[in-house]
């Protein structure tokens, strides 16, 4: 082991070409993982009870696709409600008026403090509390009377349950983002003659986005999966659609696999979307511009190279 020369011809130190430290432990770990992985894949492929043909058959079944559509609708609308509500609640929370900030705090306390499943049931059974919903002057006469049972169908109950709950979580995320923006930005904007609203919209929120986007992406991915809870209040989303099918043909496992595939496809697409959003809102935050998705994927793959060799793109094992 004497391959590393210290000095070159002109006395300048050569580039270091040392023998890397061997990591036998890592090789053993990798071998164990590999064996386990092969065993799992083999059993999944060869076990006939997985009924992969059934999975394939139902993957593009009309009822499953309809369930997927409802799942996506629920996710998008509930997240939209959550984000808008979150921004409003966060700004309220930062208001100098105690009543305004206090009511925001109370909202967040309540909706974060009770399970979302319970909240979904509440909205589903709201007609038991308020059979009629009227629009009018508070404590005064109302002009329109609506039957709660026709107004709050399962889908609306699902939107309300998921969206209002999400608003409480988004409020904390948005607030953290706003607080992360330096107060000097506020000073500068107001010194230029911007109103509080302009300052918030043009200066503070765009910069808060860099902090807000990553957790919001996580929330969206989480929401996509949480919509499955709406199946208990008979919203015909993926889980409900699958349940409808396997309750008649008893192909429970294959159908659960079918919808799992759809969930995975959707979350994967969301990951990619989140990456580009982060890139957009991260502009101006670093000296060098990022080089785009392919480079990152490549870098990610590099870090998964087998241990032992030199790993230019990878992080160290800890």
């Amino acid at each position: 082991m004497s391959s590393a020369e210290v000095t070159g011809e002109e006395g300048r130190p050569d580039e270091i070409r040392a023998v890397p430290v061997r990591h036998p432990g890592r090789w053993v770990a990798a071998a164990v993982v590999l064996v386990l992985a092969v065993a799992i894949v083999r059993s999944v492929v060869t076990n006939p009870r997985f009924e992969w043909s059934v999975v394939g058959h139902y993957l593009f079944d009309e009822r499953i696709l309809e369930g997927l559509r409802i799942t996506l609708e629920l996710t998008i609308i509930a997240m939209a409600v959550g984000v808008v509500l979150g921004i409003i609640l966060a700004i309220m929370r930062l208001s100098p008026n105690r009543l305004v900030s206090g009511s925001s705090w109370l909202y967040i306390w309540f909706f974060r403090g009770t399970p979302v499943l319970v909240q979904l049931f509440f909205w589903y059974y709201i007609a038991a509390l308020y059979p009629k919903i009227g629009i009018g002057i508070p404590f005064g006469p109302s002009f329109v009377h609506l039957n709660a049972n026709t107004l709050i169908v399962p889908f609306t109950a699902g939107i309300l349950g998921l969206g209002l709950n999400e608003g409480a979580y988004m409020a904390e995320i948005v607030r953290a983002g706003i607080i992360s923006v330096d107060e000097g930005q506020d000073d500068a904007a107001r010194a230029l003659g911007m109103t509080r609203l302009q300052t918030m919209r043009r200066v503070v929120l765009p910069q808060a986005m860099r902090v807000i986007i990553p957790p919001t992406g996580n929330e969206t991915i989480s929401m996509l999966k949480t919509t499955s809870l709406a199946s208990v209040i008979t919203v015909p989303e993926l889980v409900y659609a699958a349940g409808n099918i396997y309750s008649t043909n008893f192909k429970t496992i294959p159908l659960l696999i079918t919808i799992s595939i759809w969930y995975l496809v959707c979350t994967s697409i969301l990951y990619v979307g989140q990456y580009y959003l982060e890139l957009y809102y991260g502009r101006g935050s670093s000296r060098e511009q990022e080089s785009g998705l392919p480079a990152t994927v490549l870098r990610g793959l590099m870090s998964f190279r087998l241990p032992g060799g030199s790993r230019p793109g990878g992080g160290e094992h800890r």
Binding site: D187, A188, A191
Partner: protein, 254 residues
């Protein structure tokens, strides 16, 4: 008689129990360059922030160009101005900060065009033309599309000056504009300020740059403990201070 650009009469400012300004009397004439000197904690920066109502004063009267800052007087009573009215008055006063406070998500050009477009309603092309001219004047013609993170401290501060000037202010406030800069970058920023002074801009400058104060200022104010200790032309206050406190301070910074 000419209306003073800034007129302070017995200005007091408290933060909780901490009295930061204990009765400031000052007058800045149009076209005058005034430098505020003094140890940290003497209230210089706070006073500057009171001039454009970033801080509310608790007692006294403060007016800019003959109009009260933040209030409207009807008979004996003062009425607080609405936010939009305060904003409109702030738009006429430029301010440059110690830590630049450039908008991080905007390029140098966008930083400079943002307020004229959003606040004064200037058209995009006109705002752009003016911004290009101003950034060129402070020596940043090649940095229009750079984000603040890609600029050096001195370049950032010159963008900040261009951003303030884009609003065509009648008064410029500088809050220790060179204190956060590497010594070698200070010169460019001071040159931009000297140019501005030569063009006749009214300026109130909080600074520790004695050379700048001596060369550019029409009057120098030495503050300590929330009070004006001494005030006069630079050759008097800096070269021949009358007060012991001024002499002690100057002996440390000169």
């Amino acid at each position: 008689m000419i209306t003073p650009m800034v007129l302070a009469e017995g200005v007091h400012k408290r933060f909780g129990r901490n009295e930061v300004l204990k009765g400031i009397d000052l007058e800045v004439a149009p076209g005058e360059v005034m430098c505020l000197l003094g140890p940290s904690g003497s209230g210089k920066s706070t006073f500057l922030r009171c001039i454009n109502h970033l801080e509310k004063i608790n007692r006294g009267r403060l007016s800019v160009d003959g109009e009260l800052v933040g209030y409207r007087q009807e008979g004996e009573r003062l009425h607080e101005l609405r936010e939009s009215e305060v904003a409109r008055k702030r738009a006429e006063i430029g301010m440059v900060f110690q830590h630049f406070n450039l908008f991080g998500h905007m390029t140098a050009l966008e930083n400079t065009t943002c307020a004229p477009m959003r606040v004064k309603g200037v058209g995009r092309d006109q705002a752009r033309g003016r911004a290009v001219e101003l950034l060129g004047r402070v020596g940043l013609a090649d940095k229009l599309d750079a984000y603040p993170a890609q600029l050096s401290g001195g370049q950032k501060q010159r963008v900040a000056i261009a951003r303030a000037l884009a609003m065509e202010p009648k008064l410029m406030l500088f809050d220790e504009p060179t204190s956060a800069l590497d010594p070698e970058l200070v010169g460019d920023v001071l040159d931009a300020m000297k140019q501005l002074a030569r063009d006749g801009m009214t300026m109130v400058v909080v600074t520790h740059e004695m050379g700048f104060a001596r060369e550019v200022a029409d009057s120098v104010v030495f503050m300590d403990g929330g009070l004006v200790v001494e005030c006069g032309p630079p050759e008097q206050v800096i070269t021949n201070p009358r007060h012991e406190r001024t002499r002690a301070f100057l002996s440390k910074v000169l």
